[in-house]
Symmetry: C2
Subunit: 164 residues, 2 copies
């Protein structure tokens, strides 16, 4: 027993000894790790409302931009049109949104949230905001704004990956 404790003290957690010092010197590595933690936590929050990150995002865009077309939503979400179809199928099946033919262009659908959709939107946003408040409790409003500003600045940058 004493021997076991001694052995444990020598190597309590080998994984913790793995150095990521080089990677921590990269801004991209640190942002990605933070993003992973927040997304994981956010996913757990939304799961209680039977929403995934991507269905939540689509719902928010539709509530905020009533009459939006699928192709424009796909652009805004930076996803391909075919992948949006199944997401909207799910939201429509749950009666959270409607797809109405556009009279001036019968190829397109105008997306609108139903009352149930707007209610879920309110509920989800409230949950996500409290979640962020809890997770980022150590940061004050100024610090949180600074982080968001810096992230928006970086998100607006483009170099090699720019395709357009």
């Amino acid at each position: 027993m004493a021997q076991k404790i001694a052995k444990t003290n020598i190597s309590p957690d080998p994984a913790a000894c793995v150095s990521d010092a080089t990677l921590r010197g990269l801004v991209g590595y640190n942002i990605r790790r933070a993003s992973t933690v927040i997304q994981g936590d956010l996913a757990a929050t939304l799961k209680a409302l039977d929403l995934r990150m991507i269905t939540f995002t689509a719902l928010v865009f539709i509530v905020d931009n009533p009459g939006l077309q699928q192709s424009h939503l796909a652009d805004a979400m930076s996803i391909e049109r075919p992948n949006l179809v199944v997401i909207l199928d799910e939201l429509e099946r749950r009666d959270l949104i409607t797809r109405d033919r556009v009279i001036t262009d019968r190829r397109a659908y105008a997306l609108r949230a139903t009352l149930a959709g707007r209610r879920l939107y309110d509920e989800a946003l409230k949950a996500v905001h409290s979640h962020e408040a809890a997770l980022l409790g150590n940061l004050n409003d100024t610090e949180r704004s600074q982080i968001s500003d810096a992230m928006r600045l970086i998100a607006s940058l483009r170099t090699k990956a720019d395709k357009t």
Copy 2:
């Protein structure tokens, strides 16, 4: 022609009119967008060296932690052991790393970078650092440090998604 220009001026880019004001109020949304931009750009940088983000990350860990075992590397990279196998297979096939039996525990492999692996490590890190310098050119060292510090703080937080 004049009519066409007029029409264009009315609606130059419908997608740009889609408001994401609500989502921009969420720190997680802003971090994820920044992360996507940086990862995309980083991927393009590493592609020139025939590396993906995940193979690059594994290589850096192995060079920095010689003798590392696969299970500890998987923990450090937050990926499952089976998924690491194919990554190491690729690095080993390209003679960038070796898998040596551990004499004290013949179940485990000690991972080490070859000379070629260390050379690619140097080359890749140089490329990634210049890439970040170019992408984040508008930010000075202090601002970049502040961002990294904030991201590391967030990455260290755990609430709902904490499984352990």
